[in-house]
Every structure is written in C-alpha cells, then in structure tokens.
C-alpha cells in the first residue's frame, strides 16, 4: 500500500531531515521494503548537488568482484564529469556504492545525466541546486542513519515508504523519483496507474528515459514533460488528474514548492495539517503526530484535488 509524506516550512529553514525521518518511520507498517527522501536544502549559487549510485545494495552481498567494480565505476563517472567540463567542488561517499558530489556545471544537464548513466550500474538519484534525493532498502531510521540525514537543514521535503507490489525490491524501484533531467523536481506516489505502458511509450517517443518498471516513475516524467512544454507545476498537476488513469495520491516538490494531487476516486489516503508557517501531509495522521504530538486540526483533501504550497 505504501506510505507517502511531505512537509514544508514557509519562510524559514528547519531540520527537515529529522522531521521527515520521524514521519516516515511512523509509516513503516505501510511499506517496509525501502525508504526514500527528497530533501530541499539551502542552495548555493552556481553549485549543483549530484546524488548517484553505481550498484544496488543487494549487489554488494554477491562476491568480491563488486567492490572493485564499484571503484572502477565511480572513477569512470569522475572521468566523464571532467570530460564534460563539470567541476567537482567536493565529494562524499554516503555508502560504498552511493555518492554525493557538489559540482559546478552550466552545460546541458540532460547530456550530462545521460552520459553518467551510460556507465554500467550507474543511476543518478538526483541533480539539483536544492534537491538531494536518497533512497535505499530498509526503514526510515536505517536509511536516514546510513546516509546521515538527521542533521539535514532545509525548507521542505517529501518521502516514501515502499511496499513493493508491481516491481522489484531494489533502489531503482524505490521512491522518490527525480524528474529527469530537470533540476529539483521529485515525486512520491501511493497507488497504481493503469495507463502506465501507453503513457510510457509516448514519453519514450518524446525522448524521456525510464530507469525502472515502476508505474510511479511515470508521474515524475509526465510532470517534467508538461513543465518542459511550458506549463507551471500546478497546471501540470491538474492535467495529470485527468490524464493519468488509476488510483493515486502523489506528492511533488520543486526547489520552492510542495504539491499534492489526488485522483477522482480518492481511493488512496492523505491527511493534511496546515498552519501559517508549516504544512505537513501524510498517508496517515499518525505520521504528522510524530512531528506535532499535540492536538491539531487535520483534514482529508477531496477527490480530484490539487494543492500547491510555496516555501
């Protein structure tokens, strides 16, 4: 069934890493297979944060060769970044197979993404000025601890706890999805899309790439495509409610916005709390209570509803 959550502070930064970890841990029972975070920090001018992995967590348990391959693949990614003129400002190994780079790059982002993902086993989790996307197998506490997210300061964040149903238990099928190749757009989803394959083929014909067979990835690609054609986030989301078929509630974030959309059947849950300076939303109120233990007024958004908040 999966759990989704999001939060946004209006006009200030907070420890969104710790807050989202707490919310997602409360939703563990909705999906223990993997957990993902899309965190929006305080961007530095001219800098991008690149999150990528060069192997699946599961690969690391199979044989000794993979450890050497991970080193070779990372070196190849470095070489390709240099070749395209991306300056590596600093680097960090989040795990043996997942990395966080701060880069300076003003070239074609799609070309850069395609070239890096052409390296065997490589997948870009996110590129953004503000966005940092982390996902791995295990619950929120484990993933947050593994990637050191508890100290992450930022304005907003979205996350997902996954119950694998229609695709594998692996990182590439975990949410959130980055809206390749666009800066700072990420999506989490609870539900099933029934016109996935038709839309996927259409999107592929338009030049978009899919890294998984997970239907949720389509939402990120769809929104990216609509925004590429000039629509703003809210317009793209409203269109998606009519064009995407199935049952879904999804949450999307950009560098300065948080949005949610619910299908016309309202078959997937979402509870919302909104105050003057903070908005939190989750599949279950218990997740919001993990950040706000005191009594608060919450409500369910209506069927077919689209809402967007500014940070």
């Amino acid at each position: 069934m999966c759990g989704i959550a999001g939060l946004i502070h209006r006009g200030k930064s907070s420890n969104v890493g710790r807050e989202l970890t707490s919310m997602l841990q409360s939703l563990k029972h909705r999906g223990p297979d993997s957990t993902g975070f899309a965190l929006y920090g305080n961007p530095k001018p001219g800098e991008h944060v690149l999150r990528f992995k060069v192997a699946e967590q599961e690969d690391m348990r199979h044989g000794f060769k993979i450890h050497d391959q991970v080193i070779e693949r990372r070196a190849e990614v470095d070489r390709r970044l240099d070749e395209l003129g991306a300056r590596r400002i600093s680097e960090e190994a989040a795990t043996e197979y997942a990395f966080r780079y701060w880069i300076s790059f003003d070239g074609d982002m799609k070309k850069l993404a395609d070239y890096i993902e052409d390296v065997e086993g490589a997948e870009i989790l996110s590129i953004g000025n503000a966005l940092e996307l982390v996902k791995d197998l295990g619950d929120a506490t484990r993933v947050s601890g593994q990637y050191g997210l508890a100290e992450f300061d930022g304005t907003h964040a979205i996350g997902h706890t996954r119950m694998a149903t229609e695709s594998d238990v692996d990182i590439r099928s975990a949410h959130p999805y980055w809206a390749y190749p666009f800066n700072d757009i990420s999506v989490v989803h609870n539900g099933q899309l029934t016109n996935y394959w038709g839309f996927r083929r259409e999107m592929e014909r338009r030049g978009h790439r899919f890294m998984s067979n997970c239907d949720s990835e389509l939402i990120a690609v769809y929104l990216a495509d609509r925004m590429d054609r000039g629509e703003d986030l809210e317009e793209a989301m409203r269109r998606s409610v009519g064009e995407l078929d199935g049952v879904f509630t999804y949450v999307v974030a950009t560098s300065d916005k948080l949005g949610m959309a619910k299908d016309v059947m309202a078959a997937k849950p979402m509870v919302l709390y909104e105050s003057d300076d903070f908005v939190a939303l989750a599949s279950e109120e218990v997740a919001i209570r993990s950040v706000f233990p005191h009594e608060i007024d919450t409500y369910d958004p209506y069927e077919g509803e689209v809402m967007v908040w500014q940070s």
Partner: protein, 281 residues
C-alpha cells in the same frame, strides 16, 4: 405529525420493514429479538463509576485491553486521553459504555461497536464506525473516507467533513455528516439513513439498493440508479428530531433538503434469470 410516537414513526418510515428480497439476500437481524440486544457475557457497568486511560505511551492493543479491563471492573464511563491518532482504538465494544476520546483517532476507530455511546473531541481517520451495530458515535471534527462503512445500526455522527465512500455498503442505522461528504457516498447502500448537511461529491448513492440519503447542500451528481424523491412530512419530522438530538442544523432548513433513494433498476437485476442477465450485459 407531532403526536406520532417514535416507534410508530420508525415503522412509517420503513425502518422495520425495508428488506431486500433478491434471491441472495437474507434478513440477519430483527430488532424484535430481545435476546439479541444484550450479550450474555456483557459485564454490568455503572455509568457513575468513571476512569481515565492515558494512551500516550500505550500501543493500540494495550489501550483497547485497558478499556476492556475497566469495563470488567464495572467502570461505565471511560475517558481516553492522548489517543494521538492511533489506529483501531475503541473497537469491538459489545457493551453499554460511555467512552470519550480526548483527541483524534487514526484508521478503523470505533469499529464493530454494539451498544456504547462514544464521543471523540478530535478527528477520525478512514473507516470509522465500520460495521457498527448499535450505540452512538459522535465526532466533533472531520472524518476520513469510508466513514461508517457497512454500518448496521446505531447513529454515527461527524460534525465536520468526511471523505469519499461514506456509508459504503450501509446496511442500517444512521450516518450524519455535518459538513461535506466525498465522492461515492452511499455507494451500494442497502438500508438505513444517511444525512449530509453540506455538499455531496460525485456519484452520490451509486448502485444503492435501498435506504435513504438526505442532502442539505449541493449534490455534484447522482450515481447510477440513485433518484430524487419528494420529502414527506415523515422525513421532515424525523430529520428535525434527529438533528436536534445532536445539536445540528442545516443552513437552508430541513424542508429544503434533497431526498435520494434507489431507483431499483439495478436492484431488480438480481431477480433476473442467468440467461436474462446475459441479455442485459
């Protein structure tokens, strides 16, 4: 009208006689069976004997077990503090009891009740009051989707808004919503009464077999086989009394509410022979 007593009125409204007569339907319960009204193992409780449970550090099972333990010791009035939107609280109580939740409940709260009077000062999540058989549940704030799913009896009241599929498969009792109800409310309703004082979302009463829905606000659209019918004096009298019971009123007055019932076109479908069904399909 005013001289009608409640028993007479309920008979006139069809609450005792509306039964599904399709081949696959059965009558499971009759209000006349007095031995069904109290369970033989139900503990004697004293409403003047009260207790409090602090749920803050307890899991949901522990909270429910504590309510049972207090009932077995004769406590008839129990207040649960800090429910914290935990799931499945206050379920399966087959007893007379005054139960108050000081805060909000998560999913599946107050399900399978048969007898207690429950109040919730906060909000409730999905599927509150599911399969409720008797008693009352009154929620002060909003409710989630599938509010009162498959309810069979009693009064389930939410003073705020509720989500979609409210009263799905309702088999009896009364569901009252003070605000708006979402899409597909009254879906496959079989018996009972639903009162929505605000607006109703799309596909109201879709595929309803029987029962009645009253709406005070705007109806986005009606579902398949749901049709509008004229309000009668009995309807107006019953609505006035029922709403007053819970301190509720409809902005445009009871006389301007819309009454929705089943057109019974799909319902008759069940009486068709298999070959006839093929023709319909």
């Amino acid at each position: 009208m005013a001289e009608l007593d409640q028993a007479h009125e309920s008979y006139e409204l069809g609450m005792h006689t509306e039964q599904l007569s399709g081949r696959t339907q059965q009558v499971f319960f009759s209000a006349e069976e007095s031995d069904n009204l109290v369970y033989p193992w139900a503990p004697e409780v004293d409403f003047d004997k009260s207790a409090e449970v602090d749920a803050e550090s307890l899991g949901q099972k522990a909270v429910n077990a504590e309510i049972r333990r207090l009932m077995s010791e004769g406590f008839g009035t129990i207040t649960v503090r800090n429910p914290g939107a935990k799931h499945s609280l206050g379920v399966g109580i087959l007893n007379r009891l005054n139960l108050h939740f000081d805060g909000s409940l998560g999913y599946f709260g107050c399900g399978l009740l048969d007898g207690p009077n429950v109040t919730v000062s906060g909000r409730v999540g999905w599927s509150c009051g599911e399969n409720m058989m008797a008693g009352t549940v009154v929620i002060e704030k909003n409710g989630g989707s599938t509010f009162g799913a498959a309810i069979r009896g009693g009064d389930l009241v939410c003073k705020g808004d509720v989500g979609s599929r409210t009263g799905i498969d309702q088999k009896g009792g009364t569901v009252i919503v003070g605000g708006r109800a979402g899409a597909f409310s009254g879906f496959m309703m079989q018996r009972g009464r639903m009162v929505i004082l605000g607006d109703a979302g799309k596909n109201l009463g879709d595929s309803m077999y029987d029962g009645t829905i009253y709406v005070g606000g705007r109806i986005e659209d009606l579902g398949v086989d749901a049709v509008e019918e004229e309000l009668t004096d009995l309807d107006r009298h019953w609505l006035t009394r029922k709403l007053a019971q819970y301190g509720l009123e409809t902005p445009n007055g009871v006389e301007n509410m819309t009454k929705i019932v089943s057109g019974k076109q799909l319902w008759n479908y069940d009486n068709l022979e298999p070959t006839e069904k093929k023709l319909v399909l």
